[in-house]
């Protein structure tokens, strides 16, 4: 099993993802430079958080043209797992690998704090665990997910909504929505369920010392899927 963490200029959660996979999950992981192609033997590619190209223009808008994104699309087509976290999610949206777009948080402010997310589906490679509410940090200025008018219904229909912001008890309420995201959406998958984009940061909560280890559940699920 081999995982890769992409490094774009301006990525800044690349080392955090790398550390969580290597030191906490103890799996084989490489950095993949944005200017190169990824070899065919990667089972899972992670697009980390940060500010690729400074997020100048629009989040993810420039990074999606990086050469590595061609391999990412190719590997995705072959059914390999792709996980976009925060800026990685934004890049996947700009690249059209996931539907919708991001606009600024309703408060117009960057928000860094712990939130709760409800796990809506257990039958994806990323969420094969029983815990239904995760405590996990967000850190973004543009996590306000938007999609065209019939988008939400389509996402529902194909069970593509994986995470929604919720209360600690699991209620999906307006107050629990930190950024204005439509339907409290915090993470979605493609119809084939091998690409996940999520705003919260599982790599920031994979050790109890950091305040929560719920993020580890997501990585464990991926590893279980890949070793099956």
């Amino acid at each position: 099993m081999k995982l890769g963490v992409v490094v774009f200029p301006g990525s800044n959660c690349d080392t955090d993802c790398f550390y969580a996979l290597k030191e906490v999950m103890k799996v084989a992981v490489d950095y993949l430079w944005h200017g190169e192609q990824a070899r065919d033997d990667y089972d899972c590619i992670i697009l980390p958080g940060g500010f690729s190209y400074g997020d100048y223009l629009r989040t993810g808008a420039i990074a999606r043209f990086s050469p590595i994104m061609r391999s990412v699309a190719e590997l995705a087509r072959k059914g390999r797992l792709i996980l976009g976290i925060c800026n990685g999610f934004q890049i996947l949206l700009e690249a059209g690998l996931l539907p919708g777009a991001m606009v600024r948080n309703i408060s117009l402010q960057f928000i860094c704090k712990y939130v709760n997310i409800k796990v809506e589906q257990n039958h994806t490679p990323f969420s094969n665990f029983s815990k239904s509410v995760l405590r996990i940090p967000i850190a973004h200025g543009q996590g306000n997910y938007v999609i065209d008018a019939h988008g939400p219904a389509e996402l529902e229909e194909h069970q593509q909504i994986l995470f929604r912001y919720c209360t600690p008890e699991g209620a999906v309420t307006r107050e629990a929505n930190p950024n204005g995201s439509i339907g409290n959406i915090a993470g979605i998958v493609n119809r084939e369920r091998n690409i996940l984009g999520m705003m919260p940061h599982p790599e920031r909560c994979s050790e109890a010392q950091l305040g929560s280890a719920d993020g580890k559940l997501i990585f464990e699920s991926i590893i279980r899927y890949l070793s099956a």
Partner: protein
């Protein structure tokens, strides 16, 4: 303002000299150094290098009195940042800077470029920045303009720090009319490195290349250093050249590229172009290595057209770096820079003649003995005089203020007072978790970060109560250090070194210089007693608005080390039934308290006292008690006194525990609850640990009293305070 073509350099008149902030004496000195009249470009170079901001002419004699050495100190003041040995082959690099004037004019960009600048100071030493702190002082938030400054500064800091991926883990914010129109924006950065990677800003080998990388040079920020060395006035806006704009994406790339260069061992010295840009970086690097530097300005990447040598040398465009690179390493340097999409521009070489020689269009436009610019810079012995206001203010007897009729609203109002209220609304705008080292987040006594790959943690705090320093600059100076150390001790750390930023008014005024001199004496004495040497810092003078100086505001950034993760101690209560213990001396008056400031709207009364020996002992008890496993929570008492500390300890407990406090009836309750006596720590411990804790205090001859119990869902103090935790919460989270 200078002409834009080199061919029409203005003639040098005494008026031009004085417009450059240089005295006749300075000018004669320049002629002596050069053995001739300076060229226009040379005049510009001397003017920035001899500005207060760059050469510390008013402060350097006094700064020499700071204790700066110690076993752990690898690099004291004088380099880009201080370096401290934390064991395991690792070193922490840290430094604080001010960006007050730029932030007054353009709060967003002023603060953002401040962050960019302090980051560069850290990574040029070879360290990866791992944390930022930002002490901020704003004017009265009920004035719309001040709120505009607050929002601009905070989003400027957030946008830059978040983008480069360095967590902002602590800070402090005070609001006072004293900072109307002249906010203080101090930024501190902390880096971590392998001791072997330490790189100095020094040109050592003649023949080595002088390499420029980063953003192109424009006409922005010319005379920024001079601007920082005068009072703000109505036409400050006009006098400035184009405002500098921060480019965090470039900041991030030069950070990564610089660390790559250093780890590949292909450069012998690096300095960023901060204040005084190309001028400062070239002559300081040459000066430190007793070498010369020759550069050709035609090789400088330029963003604007027809820039004169004067402008090129003085521009303060952001995100620019200068490296000294041995000739045989240039290809590797180019390769690393290219990887990060940076151009490698060779401006010139290091020479043996000790001269800084600047060429432009084939002509030599400046030729100055490099070391002399720093070594021979002017020194001013400023006059100090005890300000008259001190007698007036300290004569006031705060006991004459009536106690509140009802303590419940009094406490709630105090908790909601902008300076005391929770700063969550601020630190949630900062990414404080990136790099996954933040073990204790903002919102506690001090931030704690783990050092991956070791058991070690570091604790960081910044503090500086300008009001105390205004009331008594000597004691205020001591308190600033003591409080910062106390905050760090409460988390379980041992304080080991400080950096500082000294924000004062116009040093040419004897009153102000008295404040400055006394604060320095206080800081120095406290650092000696607490064994926390000064590793560096920054002085910001001329913080005045319409002739009124801001409070004398020294800010201390404290570094502490925790060798065993089990010592890490939270500031909030942990378990129902735990004993609440107050460590430290009795409070005797309300002088200098936020409570008085809120009620009377004036700064009055004697400053709280500070006995350094008591402080040291209290901290020792706290540290030893923590190491002995006796302490469940520790929180230092500061603004707002005991009542606010207890309320915060309730609010910071995960389960929002209440407390029942019984205060000794001999003292006036308002003084006991809101007085800001120093050297006090609020602790909680299991009932079974109480005796040992008391015993430990006794051994050290430190007063300790059990004042209550963690219990229920309300805060109850004698018969006077009875409030639900929810109501405390609501008050404390008021956003100004």
């Amino acid at each position: 303002m200078p002409e834009r073509t080199p061919l029409s350099d203005p003639a040098i008149t005494m008026e031009l000299v004085s417009d450059h902030g240089l005295s006749e004496e300075d000018y004669n000195h320049i002629k002596e150094i050069l053995g001739r009249e300076p060229s226009f470009t040379e005049l510009g170079i001397f003017s920035v290098m001899w500005s207060e901001h760059c050469c510390y002419k008013s402060s350097k004699l006094l700064l020499k009195t700071f204790p700066t050495s110690g076993q752990r100190i690898l690099q004291g003041p004088g380099e880009n940042a201080g370096v401290v040995d934390i064991g395991d082959g690792l070193a922490v690099v840290f430094k604080m800077e001010s960006h007050n004037h730029p932030s007054a004019v353009e709060p967003y960009q002023g603060a953002a470029t401040g962050v960019g600048g302090i980051l560069r100071d850290i990574f040029t030493m070879g360290a990866r920045p791992i944390a930022m702190l930002n002490p901020l002082r704003f004017g009265n938030p009920s004035i719309a303009w001040n709120r505009y400054i607050v929002n601009g500064v905070i989003s400027g800091i957030a946008d830059y720090g978040n983008c480069v991926g360095v967590p902002t883990v602590a800070g402090d914010i005070y609001f006072s009319d004293s900072y109307n129109g002249n906010p203080l924006v101090n930024v501190m950065c902390v880096g971590l490195m392998d001791k072997k990677d330490m790189t100095l800003a020094c040109a050592r080998t003649s023949g080595s290349y002088v390499v420029y990388y980063g953003n192109a040079t424009g006409r922005d920020g010319i005379h920024g250093a001079t601007f920082a060395s005068e009072e703000l006035s109505e036409d400050s806006q006009e006098r400035r050249s184009a405002v500098q704009v921060g480019d965090p994406f470039m900041g991030k790339r030069i950070l990564e590229a610089t660390l790559d260069l250093i780890r590949a061992r292909v450069v012998e010295g690096i300095q960023d172009m901060g204040a005084a840009g190309l001028t400062c970086s070239t002559c300081e690097m040459a000066g430190r290595g007793a070498k010369g530097i020759e550069i050709d300005l035609d090789c400088v990447p330029q963003r604007a057209e027809n820039m004169s040598p004067y402008e090129l040398m003085l521009s303060e465009s952001q995100e620019r770096m200068l490296a000294i690179c041995p000739r045989d390493k240039i290809d590797q340097v180019r390769e690393i820079l290219t990887k990060w999409d940076l151009e490698c521009c060779i401006l010139g070489t290091v020479t043996d003649d000790g001269l800084m020689r600047v060429k432009h269009g084939g002509r030599v436009v400046a030729e100055i003995p490099a070391a002399k610019i720093s070594d021979d810079s002017p020194v001013c012995r400023r006059e100090a005089r005890t300000p008259e206001y001190l007698n007036r203010l300290t004569k006031f007897d705060p006991a004459a203020v009536e106690p509140p009729a009802d303590y419940n609203p009094a406490l709630l109002e105090l908790l909601a007072f902008p300076t005391i209220a929770s700063k969550r609304w601020v630190y949630e705008q900062y990414d404080h978790m990136v790099q996954t080292n933040t073990v204790v987040s903002p919102g506690h006594s001090a931030a704690v970060l783990r050092i991956k790959g070791t058991n070690k943690h570091i604790a960081l705090s910044c503090d500086g109560n300008g009001m105390y320093c205004y009331l008594n600059p000597y004691i205020g100076g001591m308190i600033t250090v003591a409080e910062a150390a106390r905050n760090v001790v409460c988390t379980g750390a041992e304080p080991i070194a400080i950096t500082n930023c000294l924000n004062f008014g116009n040093p040419e005024k004897p009153d102000i210089f008295h404040q400055f001199a006394e604060c320095i004496r206080g800081i120095g004495d406290a650092c000696r007693e607490l064994n926390t040497p000064v590793t560096g810092g920054n002085v910001s003078f001329y913080n005045e608005n319409q002739g009124e100086a801001v409070f004398p505001t020294p800010v201390i950034g404290m570094l502490g080390v925790i060798d065993d993760p089990q010592w890490i101690t939270p500031s909030g209560f942990q378990d129902e039934g735990d004993c609440i213990v107050l460590l430290g001396p009795e409070v005797t008056h309300l002088g200098g308290s936020q409570y008085l400031y809120q009620r009377m709207k004036v700064v009055v009364g004697p400053c709280p006292e500070m006995h350094l020996e008591t402080e040291r002992k209290v901290q020792a008890v706290c540290r030893e008690a923590i190491r002995a496993g006796l302490v469940k929570s520790a929180h230092d008492l500061s603004e707002g006194g005991l009542a606010v500390a207890v309320a915060e300890a309730c609010l910071r407990s995960e389960r929002q525990l209440g407390a029942v406090i019984t205060m000794n009836a001999q003292l006036r309750l308002d003084i006991a609850l809101f007085g800001e006596a120093q050297s006090r720590i609020l602790m909680s411990c299991a009932p079974s640990s109480l005796d040992s804790l008391m015993q430990l205090a006794k051994v050290h001859n430190v007063t300790a009293r059990k004042i209550g119990t963690v219990r229920g869902e309300r805060l109850i103090i004698n018969r006077s305070v009875d409030l639900s935790i929810a109501s405390l919460q609501e008050a404390h989270h008021t956003v100004p």
